[in-house]
Symmetry: C2
Subunit: 212 residues, 2 copies
DNA sequence: GTATATTACTACTCCACGGTAGCATTTGAC
DNA sequence: GTCAAATGCTACCGTGGAGTAGTAATATAC
C-alpha cells in the first residue's frame, strides 16, 4: 500500500518556459512575504504555493537567497521607476511652487501605492524576519529618493527661515512612507486626500487663523 | 589527544545569582540584536557572548523565544516609561502652546535617545530578521503613544483649518521615530537641535517671510 | 506513431541550531 | 575540613529546512 508502486504520483505541473516560471515563482514568493513574512518563504512553502516541487525552483534559481534577491531587485526597480516617474523633472520645478509640487506628488504617489499594493507593501511595510539584504536595499533606495527630496527642500528653503534642507528631505520621504503604510493598512480609512489635506494645512497652503 | 580525558575542560564562569545572570544574558542578547540582527541571536552565539554555555541560558529561560520575549518586554517597558515621563500631563497641556510642547518634548526625547542608545535602537531601528512578536509589540507601543499624540494634535487643531488630528498624531509619532533613528545612526551629524529647529520652522514658531 | 529533449517529481542527504541528560565544579553552611 | 546544594560544562539528540541524485512524464519534431 505504501510502496512506491502503489503511491500515487503527483500530477505534473503544466510545463512553462523558464522566464514565465521565474515570474510565477517570484509572484508566489512576494505573496508569501506580504502575507506571512520572510521566514514563511521556505522552499517547501514556495513550491506548494506555486504548485510545483522544490527541484523546479532550483531549476530557475541557484538557491533561496538567489530567489529572494531576484525578487527584491525586481520590486525595487519597479517601485523606483514608478516613484521617479511621479516626481517632475528639475526644469519643471523652477516654474512652480515647492509646496504645491510636494502635495501633488504625494497625491499621485498614494494613488500608485493603492494600485500596486503588494509591491509597495514589501517596499515600505515593516516585514517580519526581513533579511539584512532587504534592509540595505531599502536604505539605498531611500538614499536615492532623499537626494531628490533634498533638492525639492532646498528649493523651498528660500521661503522659510530656520529651514534645514537635509532634515526637510528626510521628513518628506518619511511622511510619504508613513502615508503609504497607512494607506496599505486600511485603504478605506486612510484615503490619499486625508494626507494631502493635512500636508497642505501643515505647510501653509491654507491660511492659519491665528499666528502661533 | 582528542579524548575527553585529555581535552581541556572550559573553566567555569563565575557563579552569579539567577537574577543577575538573567540581566547579563538579556544585555548580551540586546547587544547581539543591535549589532547583527535577531537571527544572530543563536543560543550558541549568546552563550559565547555571555561567557557561559547553553545549559546556563536554559537555567534562566525556558527557550530562545522566552528569552527574546523577556528582552522585548524589558526594553519596551523601560522605553515607554522614559517616553511618557517626557510628555507633560494633560493638566499642564491646557496652560501651554501645543507647538511649543511638541518641540520641547522632541528635544527631551532625543536627548534621552542619545543617553540610552541600545534601548532605543531596538525600539525604533529597522532590525534584520525582526520576529513578528517584536513587530506586534512595536505596533502596540505606537498605538499607546499615538493616543497621546492625537490628544496633543486635537489640542492644536483649534488653531489651523484643514487639520486632521489622526493624521497629525501619526505624523508627530513618525517624525519622532525618524529623528531618533537619525540621531542613533550618526549622533554627531544629526544633533537634536537640528530636528527641533526644523520642527519649529515647519509649524510656524518662526515667522514665514512670504505666504506660500 | 515514435523518439528525444526538456521539464517535473520522489526520495533522500546533510547540517545548523534548539534543546537536554548526565557529569563536574564551586561555594557556603556546619 | 567535609558535605551538600547550587550552578556550570561536555557531549549528544532530534528536527526543520536547504539542497540534490536519479527517475518519470510530457511535448514537440520528424
Amino acid at each position: 500500500m505504501t510502496s512506491t508502486t502503489s503511491r500515487k504520483r503527483r500530477p505534473y505541473a503544466t510545463r512553462v518556459p523558464a522566464e514565465e516560471r521565474r515570474t510565477q515563482l517570484l509572484d508566489a514568493a512576494l505573496r508569501l512575504i506580504v502575507t506571512s513574512g520572510h521566514d514563511a518563504v521556505t522552499m517547501d512553502a514556495l513550491a506548494e504555493r506555486a504548485g510545483v516541487t522544490k527541484p523546479v525552483i532550483y531549476g530557475q534559481f541557484s538557491g533561496r537567497a538567489d530567489l529572494l534577491d531576484a525578487l527584491l531587485r525586481r520590486e525595487q526597480r519597479a517601485a523606483l521607476s514608478q516613484l521617479f516617474a511621479l516626481i517632475p523633472a528639475e526644469t519643471d520645478m523652477r516654474a512652480g511652487e515647492p509646496a504645491r509640487l510636494v502635495t501633488e506628488t504625494l497625491d499621485r504617489f498614494l494613488r500608485t501605492v493603492r494600485e500596486t499594493p503588494d509591491r509597495w507593501y514589501c517596499i515600505v511595510m515593516p516585514l517580519p524576519d526581513m533579511p539584512s539584504a532587504f534592509h540595505r536595499a531599502r536604505d539605498e533606495a531611500r538614499d536615492a529618493v532623499l537626494r531628490r527630496a533634498r533638492e525639492i527642500a532646498e528649493w523651498g528653503q528660500r521661503r522659510v527661515d530656520g529651514f534645514d534642507p537635509e532634515i526637510a528631505g528626510h521628513t518628506i520621504v518619511t511622511l510619504f512612507e508613513m502615508a503609504a503604510r497607512l494607506v496599505l493598512t486600511d485603504p478605506e480609512r486612510y484615503r490619499p486626500e486625508r494626507f494631502v489635506g493635512s500636508l497642505r494645512a501643515a505647510i501653509g497652503l491654507v491660511t492659519p487663523r491665528v499666528g502661533l
